[in-house]
Structure formats: structure tokens, C-alpha cells
């Protein structure tokens, strides 16, 4: 057992590449299906689904039920669509030329 665990020791956590893809979750945020690579940490995926389901619930509590939420970060866009009692969540990493200009540049 010790020998095997040394052979198959999980890699040390390193830099996480943000994948493009989608996954579906139930109303508790548990993953049902996913097209994300296994290298994407499940902790990250769970954190995303929990916050998204919480946002849907919070909107409902504010008497403003939503069926789609788009979250825009500088380097990532998340799109979540409500599906009955769950949701489908898309991850779309953004590249530098997709963003609006935020740096100071001086053109010739």
C-alpha cells in the first residue's frame, strides 16, 4: 500500500489552468454532468456552483427570480442558466484582447 501510494501520489497542487466548458448541478449545487477536465479542482467547481445557486436563491428572496446570470471578471466570464431545480454553468476564460482597455498606453 505504501509502495502504491508512493507511485500514485497525487501531484502537488500547482497553477490551475481555467478551462472552457460547462457543468450541470442540482439545486444543492452537486455536480451532475461536466465537460470540464479532471485537472480542474473539484473545490473550485463546487465553489462556483455554490455561489451561483446562492445568487439564484438570493434573487428569489428579493422577489426578482432570475433564470440566467452572467458574471464578468477581468479574466473569466461565468454564465449560469437555471434548469428546473438545478443549473448549467459555462466557464469562458477571457483573453487580453477581449477585455476593455485598462492599461495606460501611448500610441505613436
Amino acid at each position: 500500500m505504501g509502495f502504491l501510494s508512493r507511485l500514485f501520489k497525487s501531484a502537488e497542487p500547482g497553477l490551475v489552468h481555467l478551462p472552457s466548458g460547462s457543468f450541470t448541478v442540482d439545486k444543492e449545487g452537486a455536480v451532475i454532468t461536466s465537460t470540464l477536465p479532471q485537472s480542474f479542482p473539484s473545490g473550485h467547481r463546487d465553489a462556483i456552483s455554490q455561489q451561483i445557486m446562492a445568487a439564484f436563491r438570493s434573487a428569489k428572496r428579493a422577489h426578482m427570480p432570475l433564470n440566467e446570470i452572467v458574471i464578468q471578471y477581468s479574466a473569466l466570464k461565468l454564465l449560469a442558466r437555471e434548469l428546473g431545480e438545478g443549473a448549467i454553468i459555462f466557464l469562458m476564460p477571457q483573453s487580453l484582447n477581449q477585455q476593455s482597455s485598462v492599461s495606460i498606453k501611448k500610441s505613436p
Binding site: 502537488e12 497542487p13 500547482g14 497553477l15 490551475v16 489552468h17 481555467l18 473550485h44 465553489a47 462556483i48 455561489q51 446562492a54 445568487a55 438570493s58 434573487a59 428572496r61 428579493a62 422577489h63 426578482m64 427570480p65 432570475l66 433564470n67 440566467e68 446570470i69 452572467v70 458574471i71 464578468q72 471578471y73 477581468s74 479574466a75 473569466l76 476564460p93 477571457q94 483573453s95 487580453l96 477585455q99 476593455s100 482597455s101 485598462v102 492599461s103 495606460i104 498606453k105 501611448k106 500610441s107
Partner: protein
């Protein structure tokens, strides 16, 4: 800051650290003191105990990776200059590093020429830091930049970005010809842009075909604008009693907020607006809501949660959240020291929502 510049170099490869410590410490003209750290936690503890001008960090590190270190360093030490020096040739990491606020992103040099360029660039970064007053236009106000362009009789288009809003000031042969913001042009747009407190700018080639709408001299224009801003600031200090007009009387805190809300309430398709201060007292201003509490809770909860998620994923600043429902559409975004939430009817198109929200955010940021 100490007189001798200081650099902290972080990498998990000891040979690399030894080589670059020598190169930077002995071959840069400013002769900086170079400290090294072979892990993220070590780097953070050194940063905590000593002052540095520059952090040069690798991204691919065991346990605590470079993006984590950069996120913490940017938050805890906002004046520290950050440079990534890595072997990772992946556009996504470059994007994410810049989104976290790094100054430069370098691939580890492979040729003498690349080493030379890297060294020059590092020298330029630390000397800019130590020569106060030579940091250039980055730390100047918009008024200074406009004066500079007009005095030198230049022709250009200044593109100014404030959050998600973009404005343009057209300068032709040292005179301000026109200004543009979503939904407005001319002197009004110019005054609005100049009222922005923060942002960034880009100087683009001149647009000679632009029709002149501003005929005042630039000095007169700047004077009028400064006067208007002063008047607005002094009016802001005088609390007013809410008028109680319009849907759901608005317990606004000051006349500036009152006039902003009045302006926003006239915009087509806007159902409600709520601005929530991010300071401890969480002051709120709103229009179009009978009971702002549920929307206020939604705004706070959602933005706080997604800000935390963004930090965990290292994807930079949270820019905006948009929600679509059968009865309503809603847009939420951080704006200066407030969080702003705007409601629209479901029938509003996505383009209209995007443009209106941009406009509202730009007004609020001013």
C-alpha cells in the same frame, strides 16, 4: 522607501535564484539589494517584515502558486511593483496576471538579447519608483494631461476609461474640439469626464474629420469645469430634505445623489436604482423601490460572494453581474466606493440594458 532599491525574487529553483540575484544585484546600474525566497509563504513573510520596491515572481510554484502570492501582495502592498518572470507560455496566465494588477509579465529570457531587455526593463521600473516626480502621466490628473496636450499644440484623441465606461476628448492643434460619452457629446461630456476621480487613459491618433462642437479656449473650458466641480462638491456637503416626489420617495443623503437619481429616473426603461456604500455604515440611496431591503441584501450578498470567488480563482476584478428573469432584468456592479444595482423590465433588450447601465455607472463614478 530605502534609498537603495530593493528587489524580492521568488522562484522554487535555487540555481535560478542564485544566478538572477547576482545579475540583478551586480549588473543593474542602481545596484539594488536583492533578497530571494524559494516559496510563496517565505516570500510573503519577507514582504511583511521588510519594505521592497519590486517583487519578481515565478508562477509555477509548489503549494502556494505565483498567482496566489501576487493576489495577496497586490492587496496588502498596493505600492509594490509586481513582475512575473516565468517559463509558462500560456496566454491565459498572462491575462490573469495582468487582471491581478501586475506591472509586467516576462517569459524567462533565453538569449543574451532577451536578458539585456529584461535587465533594462527592471532598471526602468525601479528607477521610476525612486525618482519621485518622473513617474510620468500615470500619476497626473486629467486636467494636467489636457493642459500638456494643449500647450504642446498636439492633435490626438484621449480615450479615458473609468470602470466600464469609456470617454473620448478630441484635441486638434492644441484646442479641445469635442468630447464624447455614451449618450452625450460636447461640453457636457467634457465636464462629466473631468469629474471622474480615477481611471486610465490612452492617447490615440487625432481624428481630423471630427466636427468641432466646443468653441471655448481650453483654459476657459478647464476653468468652467473646475468651477462646476467645486459647486457640485459644496452642494454635496449640504444635506437636503427629500422631496417625496416620484415613485417611492427617495431618502437620498445629499443633493448630488438626489440629482443623480432624478437624472437616472428619467432614463428609458430603468425601473429602480440602488447604490449601497461599501464602508462600515453601508449608506444606501435608491429610487423606484418601496422596500429597498431585499434588493439591498441581494446586491451585497451577491457582490461579496462573487468577489470572494474571484479572489479564489485569481481571475481579477469583478466587473459586473447581469441577471435575466421573466419579469425583470438586473445589473449589479461595484462602482468606486459603492455597489450599484439597477433594475430593468424584462422587455428591455440586452444592448439597451448594457448601454443604460454603462451610462448610469459613469454618472455614479463621476
Amino acid at each position: 522607501m530605502p534609498a537603495q532599491p530593493t528587489i524580492l525574487l521568488m522562484d522554487d529553483d535555487q540555481d535560478f535564484l542564485d544566478l538572477y540575484r547576482e545579475m540583478l544585484g551586480q549588473h543593474l546600474p542602481s545596484m539594488p539589494e536583492v533578497r530571494v525566497a524559494n516559496s510563496g509563504t517565505r516570500a510573503l513573510s519577507i514582504l511583511q517584515s521588510e519594505q521592497f520596491n519590486l517583487l519578481i515572481a515565478d508562477l509555477n510554484m509548489p503549494k502556494m502558486d505565483g498567482l496566489q502570492v501576487l493576489t495577496i501582495a497586490r492587496r496588502k502592498f498596493p505600492h509594490l511593483r509586481l513582475v512575473v518572470l516565468t517559463g509558462i507560455r500560456d496566454e491565459q496566465f498572462r491575462t490573469r496576471a495582468y487582471a491581478l494588477g501586475v506591472d509586467q509579465y516576462w517569459l524567462k529570457p533565453e538569449t543574451d538579447q532577451e536578458v539585456g531587455l529584461f535587465m533594462e526593463s527592471m532598471e526602468s521600473l525601479i528607477s521610476r519608483e525612486s525618482q519621485e516626480g518622473f513617474r510620468g502621466v500615470q500619476s497626473k490628473g486629467l486636467v494636467d494631461i489636457i493642459q500638456l496636450e494643449c500647450l504642446s499644440q498636439s492633435s490626438c484623441v484621449l480615450k479615458i476609461t473609468n470602470g466600464t465606461t469609456e470617454g473620448k476628448i478630441f484635441i486638434q492643434a492644441g484646442e479641445v474640439f469635442d468630447a464624447e460619452l455614451p449618450g452625450m457629446t460636447g461640453e457636457t461630456a467634457f465636464q462629466r469626464i473631468l469629474a471622474w476621480k480615477t481611471g486610465s487613459f490612452e492617447s490615440l491618433p487625432a481624428d481630423p474629420s471630427r466636427v468641432r462642437t466646443i468653441f471655448s479656449s481650453y483654459q476657459g473650458l478647464l476653468l468652467n469645469t473646475a468651477q462646476a466641480i467645486d459647486e457640485a462638491a459644496s452642494a454635496e456637503e449640504q444635506p437636503v430634505v427629500p422631496s417625496g416626489e416620484g415613485p417611492a420617495s427617495t431618502p437620498v443623503q445629499n443633493s448630488r445623489a438626489a440629482s443623480l437619481l432624478a437624472e437616472v429616473s428619467q432614463m428609458e426603461g430603468v425601473e429602480f436604482v440602488l447604490a449601497l456604500g461599501r464602508e462600515k455604515n453601508r449608506a444606501q440611496e435608491f429610487w423606484g423601490l418601496d422596500n429597498p431591503k431585499p434588493i439591498s441584501e441581494f446586491t451585497k450578498e451577491t457582490l461579496d460572494n462573487f468577489r470572494t470567488l474571484g479572489e479564489r480563482l485569481h481571475v481579477g476584478e469583478l466587473q459586473q453581474i447581469t441577471g435575466f428573469g421573466l419579469q425583470h432584468k438586473v445589473a449589479v456592479a461595484p462602482c468606486g466606493t459603492s455597489d450599484v444595482c439597477v433594475g430593468f423590465p424584462a422587455a428591455v433588450s440586452q444592448e439597451h440594458l448594457r448601454d443604460s447601465f454603462k451610462n448610469i455607472i459613469s454618472k455614479w463614478a463621476s
